[in-house]
Symmetry: C2
Subunit: 236 residues, 2 copies
DNA sequence: GCATATATTGCTGTATACAATTCTGAATAT
DNA sequence: ATATTCAGAATTGTATACAGCAATATATGC
């Protein structure tokens, strides 16, 4: 969320990126205490930079910390997921409202082009991860149209924290709704939102966005359950 | 934002709280590099816990960090303030919408009672700081009614980051609008919002909230300028 | 056999040391 | 006068050491 590409390879940043991934992918099991010595030797850095990275992740909501006990990976209860999806709604809808008056036609067209380019591969791509990345990229581009760096920052953070659940969510979605996804037949939710924005129709855009996220949120609780079951019964 | 009362007095928490205050109050001048050794001796802790606290504050958006160069206090440009106020709108409005269906009458009444208790002293209290604390407390209580821990967390973070500007803002407000603040004459913005919530009128509540924050936001840019002038020309 | 007290072990919390990097400023060349 | 280079100083980045706390295992009394 804070750092993107670190060519210098500062130890803290390296560890931070890696840890965030581990936390997002539930490689660190929820509510399990993190052993600093073990982790530091695993990641090839000493405890000092490791702890600095851990502190960042606590501040960002990925981990928790109990004084004298150490760091823990944060558990994702259905309640928390719901909270995060609501926060996401708040942020994305606000951004969309601002974009109506702030985004230029050209900028909107650029996102449209991104959609044109990526959406066809929704059906061909098999790796759910790539699918998730495209989905996230779309939402990030959309929020960026608001020209509000803080909203971008917040969405980026939330995305990171619900990544694993969304991954499971998307997998489920694929299994269930693939047939109805014939191109041309019905516009994708993303397309509907973007079209409304291009038409400068604030109400329609926000309504579509709310519904889009709402639908995902409804599936999310189910996704959490599945995520947990996958956690403790590794797929064969 | 993360830690509230630390009786154990872990060094990093102590330093963290203190630093956050310093950053919020612009005791650390914007864009100025933070000297770790100097700070550590000033705060009476070694560099290790200091840097852990600094890293937390970077993740929370209070500071920035450049690899190999160190930590910097984040500058508050008018643009950034605007961003933060917009984020605040997003969060508080979303929370309010959820509260309409989630907050019990009793809970709303409790906030009402808080308002009854604190509002009269708006005119008597002279210390702007206390005023700000009451204002923040009200908004936090309001958001808490949404039962969404993430929204609470986000508002708490934003409040911390715009505290100094709001302080200046409130001071200005006092100077200008004190006469029109006769109790009974007109309902306070807070009261209007809460009444709408009590009546379960979502549209009215959200509208009032948007306007309330919007008005503050408009003053904010002005407040930033004043804040900066106060920064570099200490009041005599 | 159970509960309480006590030792043991492992881990966290912090300080300190040292290596690596960046900054400063003066001396030199253009 | 301006730009450049190159030590020296200052500051950051990381490793390591050790003190102190927490959890667990062991022993003791009942």
């Amino acid at each position: 969320m804070t750092s993107a590409g670190n060519k210098t390879g500062s130890s803290v940043d390296r560890v931070y990126d890696r840890l965030k991934r581990m936390a997002a992918d539930f490689e660190l099991k929820p509510d399990e205490r993190i052993n600093e010595s073990a982790l530091s030797s695993l990641l090839g850095a000493s405890r000092t930079p490791l702890r600095e990275a851990l502190n960042r992740l606590v501040a960002e909501g990925f981990l928790t910390f109990k004084n004298g006990r150490g760091f823990f990976c944060r558990s994702l209860s259905p309640g928390r997921i719901l909270d995060l999806y609501e926060a996401r709604q708040a942020i994305e809808c606000e951004a969309l409202q601002r974009s109506v008056s702030r985004a230029s036609d050209a900028e909107i067209q650029a996102v449209m082009a991104f959609l044109d380019e990526t959406e066809p591969s929704y059906n061909t791509i098999d790796v759910a991860m790539s699918l998730l990345e495209m989905d996230e990229a779309f939402h990030m581009k959309l929020v960026a149209l608001s020209k509000n760096a803080e909203l971008v920052r917040l969405l980026s953070n939330i995305n990171g924290r619900i990544r694993y659940v969304r991954l499971v969510d998307l997998k489920m979605l694929r299994g269930k709704t693939l047939p109805s996804r014939n191109k041309g037949a019905k516009l994708s939710a993303h397309r509907v939102i973007l079209n409304a924005l291009a038409a400068r129709d604030e109400v329609a855009a926000v309504t579509a966005m709310r519904e889009h996220i709402e639908r995902r949120r409804e599936e999310a609780t189910e996704a959490v359950r599945i995520a947990y079951s996958q956690l403790y019964v590794p797929a064969d």
